[in-house]
């Protein structure tokens, strides 16, 4: 089996003698040529992890291996890892050419070699006509390309990016997304980037590692992570709107199994035994649909209808729970109206009430 390009093993980072734990016990394997996104809100430890991979910070414990070899004692300039900062951090006093050439110049390479590499990368990024421009005259996305080019010139084996799309306007964002995907396929770079924006994660990455409070909660392919959240946090973070989560208990009443919390009750089928303890029910907004009459599994009162172009998001109060439901855009619903809702049993997700991890349950004669 091939060694992974990058492997984080039980990585930990503490500050202030352990009073602040930024990163706790992280394990991650990244294969060569993959693009992985570290997704989470601020303070979850994703940037700290990035800093440790590139070498700006050293881990309190654990190991970082690139191509199978530990790099924890290797200084940042020698790990062959490139980092593009969120604010690009381009050398403003230099021209674009000087910026791109920097990495090779400080390594003492010959002028001819440097020029060739610089022009190659400039061509790759579409900046050949801007080589002599002063960095301080450039705009946002051009600066980002300079920052990316600056690292590419040194031919890193791994490219790290910190919030690559957050500082760009929408139009520039689309362009940059295309740009990064093109780089991925043309050079076969291994890319790891950090973001708090799930769209940014879903659109660029092969796999997404969702982080919270210093831990990785789930690593999953981008194409499936929304459908298969492994943790309530992931479920509540991804998706627009995010998955509806209700924490409650199972009960068996009159030969039927229900999931219940307060006034909210969902019939699950015939059965007599139920698992003990708390569980969290997850229902995606897209899985719930409007139903009428006998089809309706539960009812609720409309509190908000938000049109969203090709669909609309309905906010419904069911008992004391608030659910988001995706409905067709032309649905005519008034605030205060009572609607019937239904959801297929196949679309239900359950999570363990204690560790919040996705579980599989046998209930009412089927597996959820």
């Amino acid at each position: 089996m091939n060694k992974p390009k990058l492997e984080l093993v039980s990585l930990c980072k503490e500050y202030d003698n352990g009073s602040v734990i930024a990163v706790e016990d992280i394990d991650l394997r990244v294969e060569a040529g993959e693009t992985v996104a570290l997704l989470g809100s601020s303070g979850c430890g994703k940037s700290t992890t990035l800093n440790m991979i590139v070498g700006l910070e050293s881990p309190t414990s654990g190991d970082i291996q690139i191509d199978g070899k530990s790099v924890v004692s290797v200084p940042p300039g020698r790990r062959n890892v490139g980092l593009v900062f969120q604010d690009y951090a381009v050398f403003t006093s230099m021209t674009v050419r000087k910026n791109l050439a920097f990495g090779l110049e400080v390594r003492g390479k010959y002028v001819l070699e440097i020029n060739r590499a610089v022009e190659e990368v400039a061509e790759l990024l579409g900046m050949s006509d801007k080589l002599e421009a002063r960095a301080r005259d450039l705009g946002g996305s051009e600066l980002q390309r300079v920052a990316i080019g600056r690292t590419l010139v040194t031919k890193p084996s791994i490219l790290l990016l910190d919030e690559p799309l957050s500082n760009l306007e929408t139009s520039a964002r689309l362009a940059m997304r295309r740009e990064l995907r093109r780089l991925q396929s043309e050079i076969g770079l291994t890319i790891i980037y950090v973001t708090h924006d799930q769209v940014e994660a879903l659109s660029l990455a092969d796999r997404i590692a969702v982080m919270n409070a210093g831990r990785i909660l789930q690593v999953e392919k981008a194409s499936t992570i929304c459908a298969m959240p492994g943790h309530t946090f992931v479920a509540g973070f991804l998706g627009s709107p995010p998955m509806n989560l209700i924490r409650g208990k199972f009960e068996a009443r009159g030969g039927e199994v229900f999931f219940r919390r307060g006034d909210f009750s969902l019939a699950l089928g015939a059965g007599a035994t139920v698992p003990e303890g708390y569980f969290t029910l997850g229902m995606r907004a897209e899985s719930i649909r409007l139903a009428s009459g006998a089809d309706a599994r539960f009812t609720g009162r409309v509190s908000l209808l938000e049109p969203r172009g090709s669909e609309a998001v309905l906010t419904v109060d069911v008992g004391r729970e608030t659910l988001k439901v995706v409905v067709p855009p032309h649905a005519r619903l008034a605030v205060g109206e009572v609607v019937g809702l239904a959801v297929d049993r196949e679309s239900l997700h359950f999570f363990d009430g204690d560790n919040n991890r996705a579980t599989s349950l046998e209930l009412a004669g089927r597996i959820f």
């Binding site: 590139v54 070498g55 700006l56 940042p76 300039g77 020698r78 890892v81 490139g82 980092l83 900062f85 604010d87 951090a89 381009v90 050398f91 403003t92 006093s93 230099m94 920097f102 990495g103 400080v106 390594r107 920052a147 600056r150 690292t151 040194t154």
Partner: protein, 311 residues
């Protein structure tokens, strides 16, 4: 999309003054003072420099016009003047270099923000807060033959190494240099520390990641940001050190002989000891022109940057 309406600009009330007029009114007192108290005497002095006037000869306006005679005498024959200029120039170069080196060293130390930084910072700024005459006086005491500096030298090197500081030219100049450097290193320290703190962190980190050694990072990434700051520091100090007077007056009065005579001291002597006022005025104007040229030259590399900031 933002929906704020473009803010209205205040329109002048009918009868109110235009912006340009208000600007002129506000700057009028400042200009008046500058003109009256600086420009007028300057012009008088300029006129005077072309005459051979001396107070004993009656009113200024009756004095004889001698054209550039004072100036040519100063530049060609007056060795004492030329030496004073050279001496002041060399003194400035030495003092500023030392102040820069020590100031930079201290600033780099303080970058780390160790425990006690703010208290120590205040302590290190103290010398520059002290009146120049007092600084001169203190070091006059310290450099006395029976003073603490000689005591310390004796302690380390033995009694034969002690010096009569104000007796010989070399040691007197050293005393002046020590005094001046002690007095003004804190300013370089202050300015350089501000400059170093203002260097953006991420480009430095980026350079490190790209493989630059600390020295390469300093020269290629930090220095470009620091250059204008360094130049401002040098210009400001140059402007002041050319006029060096108070400290030297208290230390040596320009002696022994004229060994530590700066330009200001020489002009003072010409005007207020020898009463050669016209001649002294000419000397002053030469110094003024020289200073303006010097500042112009020093500022050239950063003029664009400073102008940009102004806009």
């Amino acid at each position: 999309m933002n929906d704020t309406p473009t803010p209205k600009k205040p329109r002048n009330a009918p009868g109110a003054l235009s912006n340009a007029a208000i600007g002129r009114i506000f700057t009028l007192p400042g200009q008046a003072v500058s003109v009256l108290v600086l420009v007028v005497p300057l012009l008088v002095a300029l006129y005077m420099s072309f005459t051979d006037w001396s107070p004993t000869r009656g009113a200024l306006f009756d004095a004889g016009f001698v054209g550039f005679e004072n100036y040519s005498e100063l530049l060609i024959w007056d060795t004492r003047f030329l030496f004073a200029v050279l001496r002041t120039f060399l003194l400035s170069v030495v003092c500023l270099s030392l102040e820069f080196v020590f100031g930079l060293g201290l600033a780099v130390l303080f970058l780390r923000r160790f425990r006690g930084t703010s208290l120590l910072f205040s302590a290190f700024l103290t010398p520059m807060m002290i009146l120049p005459v007092v600084v001169g006086y203190i070091f006059w005491m310290l450099f006395q033959s029976n003073g603490p500096i000689n005591q310390m030298i004796e302690f380390v090197f033995g009694a034969e190494a002690t010096v009569e500081w104000f007796r010989s030219s070399t040691t007197a100049i050293i005393a002046v240099i020590v005094t001046e450097v002690w007095h003004w290193t804190p300013l370089f320290f202050l300015i350089l520390l501000s400059g170093l703190n203002a260097v953006p962190e991420n480009p430095v980190r980026a350079a490190v990641i790209l493989g630059a050694s600390p020295r390469q990072v300093f020269w290629r990434v930090v220095m470009p940001t620091l250059k204008p700051v360094i130049i401002v520091a040098f210009v400001i100090r140059s402007m002041e050190i050319i006029k060096l007077f108070d400290e030297v007056f208290m230390l040596t009065r320009g002696g022994p002989g004229s060994a530590t005579e700066t330009i200001s001291l020489y002009i003072y002597k010409l005007a207020f000891n020898d009463f050669q006022l016209a001649y002294g005025a000419a000397a002053a104007f030469l110094v003024l022109v020289g200073s303006l040229l010097l500042v112009h030259l020093l500022l050239a590399p950063v003029r664009d940057q400073l102008l940009e900031v102004e806009r």
